[in-house]
Amino acid sequence: MDCQSFDEQVVRRDPKVQKLLDQFVCVRIVQANGLDLTLFQFDYDLTFAAFMLNADRTIYGRYASRTGRRQTSQATGMESFAKALAAGLDLHKGYPANKSSLAGKQPLPVMHKIPEDYPSLGSRFGRPPASGAMSDRNCIHCHQITGAQRREVEVQKRDLIPALKHPYPMPEIFGLGLDPKEKAKVSRIWENTTAASDGFKVGDEIVALEGQPILSIADIQWVTHNATAPAKLKAEVLRGGKRIVLELTLAANWRKAPR
């Protein structure tokens, strides 16, 4: 399903998703002007990203994936989105008793609070419009945030850190293929890869990574993107109805590693 069709299904078509959405307060943000970067941290090259959160700003989970247009169907779909929404509702029911398990899902310190605070964007777009207002002539696109981040690092003559060079790689980079219809279920393991040597198997369901409940492939990407490599990440996996613990190895150069 391409991004446009997926978005249409989310907004108004898919009946199962619509029923789940009735249990949320749904907000649609269509331009990055004034976007709170201290809260909404994701791969800004995406054209669709979703966050489930509490009114106190605690993030329950993310949904979206870094894929090229041709690959969108490999990572997104109504089935997995509905399952992520249902899992988000479960986390909300268990909140705040489960708050400590959500600590790793929370946003990290950022260079600037809103896109317009980046010099390259502020000089071009000025200050953000008031809440609820939009500008069709002066719209900041999400991908421009990535560009502004890179530009700022270059201006400061700092090395471009790997996370900015290769943001949010898909789990395939470890040899871990995940089913686009599920939250995070292994559908393929490539031979001679990290995932294979770490003991992952087809059918495994990754339910937590580094203690964070996993609602989607995007949640896995969040953990790996923000990990300090080299590292061994604790993965809690459902296999044949039993919960087992594996380690997912991140080599120092994992973002560039060939599968």
Binding site: L21, F24, C26, V27, V30, A32, F48, D136
Partner: protein
């Protein structure tokens, strides 16, 4: 001199794109409104509604092409 020549040409070229984007945004807003459950481009209102109702929030960030 070059700037004087190119600036009007650039503005002329950009006008249809901006108009098209305005149309896309209007359509997108109308479709979201028709669905009946979306707060459009207003995060503070979303937070206030979530506080009031105790419901969780779903925030979709979708750059309209």
């Amino acid at each position: 001199m070059n700037r004087l020549v190119f600036l009007p040409a650039l503005l002329l070229a950009a006008t249809p794109v901006l108009a098209q984007r305005g149309d896309l945004l209007r359509t997108d807003r109308e479709e979201a409104a028709a669905a009946g459950k979306w707060i459009y481009n207003d995060l503070p209102r979303g937070f206030a509604e979530a506080q009031r109702t105790g419901r969780p929030m779903l925030v979709v960030v979708r750059c309209v092409p």
